[in-house]
């Protein structure tokens, strides 16, 4: 039987389930799966600081995206704006409660929860405190990740715009850019952050006795 420390030297590819022994990488190096070429892990000594900066910017950008107008359309002099507030107004008016609640969770709450939990995890690991909170947040993160649909909302926005293109004049609001920026930052964060490393750091801070 290998000890936990020794087991930490192994990693299983999330796509094809192949077991690999981790090899030491030079700074910035990447390791790919030997069977399916999927990215598995990389060495980045500044992962924590970089991710923290990206997450903070993404949180600000997301707040902006949900505060102001996303797009405004103009049909024969009549104009209508899309913002988070007008969206829920209209959904409530049409009694679309189930769709409304799903929208609230998938595109508003989960993206927010994801970014803010990432922020606290990174911050707590940085200051090496609150081990228990780190653990709960890391578990929470692994569950919410599947349910964040901000990117799909953005694609839907583009589809809706193409549909309206022929008979409406479309103006972009501040939030449209903020939304795009948030998505780019989110993508960069997911590329940057390494949960396996974060868990190992959590173990180091908390020691072997992490049952408390």
């Amino acid at each position: 039987m290998l000890t936990d420390k020794e087991l930490d030297n192994f990693i299983i590819c999330k796509k094809c389930n192949t077991l690999h022994k981790k090899i030491p990488l030079h700074q910035g190096g990447k390791a790919l799966c030997s069977k399916c070429n999927t990215f598995i892990y990389k060495r980045d000594n500044n992962m924590l600081e970089k991710s923290l900066a990206l997450v903070v910017t993404a949180l600000i950008s997301l707040s902006v995206a949900f505060t102001f107008t996303i797009i405004t359309i103009n049909i024969n002099g009549l104009s209508k704006s899309l913002s988070l507030l007008s969206l829920f107004d209209v959904l409530l008016e049409h009694h679309q409660y189930i769709v409304g609640i799903m929208f609230l969770f998938l595109t508003v709450l989960f993206p927010f929860m994801m970014l803010s939990s990432m922020f606290f995890v990174l911050f707590f690991i940085k200051i090496e405190k609150y081990g228990y909170a780190i653990k709960r947040l890391l578990i929470l993160l692994s569950h919410i990740q599947h349910w964040n649909m901000l990117d799909i909302f953005f694609i839907s926005l583009l589809v809706a715009m193409v549909k309206l293109f022929d008979y409406a004049k479309i103006e972009f609001g501040v939030s449209f850019l903020a939304l795009l920026l948030t998505l780019i930052l989110e993508l960069m964060v997911t590329k940057n952050i390494n949960f396996d490393t974060l868990w190992q750091k959590y173990n180091n801070i908390y020691g072997e006795d992490n049952d408390r």
Binding site: M1, D4, L7, D8, F10, I11, I12, K14, K15, C16, N17, T18, L19, K21, K35, C36, I71, I73, I75, L78, K80, L82, S86, L87, V90, L91, H94, Q96, I98, V99, M102, F103, L106, T107, K135, L138, I139, S142, H143, H146, W147, M149, I152, F153, I155, S156, L157, V159, A160, V162, K163, L164, A168, F195, D196, W199, N203, N210, D211
Partner: protein, 198 residues
Amino acid sequence: MIDDSRFIRCHTCEAVNYDNIEEELLCRRCKCQIHQPLYISYHKTWAYLITAIILYIPANLYPILITKKFGIEKASTILGGIIHLWEAGSYPIALIILVASVFVPLLKFIFILYLLISTKYNLHSSKVDKHKLFYITEAIGPWSMIDVFVVIILSVLIHFSGVQIFPGVGATAFALMVFFTMLSALSFDTKLIKKEDI
């Protein structure tokens, strides 16, 4: 070389764990459940899948979008909307919606069914392929929400006194269908692929 089949990956924290033949396994690092007793996961996956397939029927039969023009209501279903878009010449959008709302859910149903049946009856196929299939099934799931989101966005923008667009019953059924398909994929245990006898 170490024997691969003795190890299992924790879905929550990615740690490599020793697998056991016992009913339940907790991760050494995050203490989360790596797998429930397998038959529970197997039946859960079936239950969610069947719910999703049942919801797929009203999602397609009932209108997803209703247009109200000067008091006259016109309802359109998913397929109706796609045909309308195609006839109007918006081929790219028609294709996107066709793939996202018709093919993706159907593919997910077929993939999960295949995984459930092939792991139950030990059908001959590579385990690596099954793991990849499962990975793809998880990844494409959320994309079927595009149509529902488009309807929501349109209902906010086209909201004038004369002309209004709003979501129909089909939109609710469709959103719930996506939800249950995702639950089904998430409750499928990849250990079923490995064990191949329950």
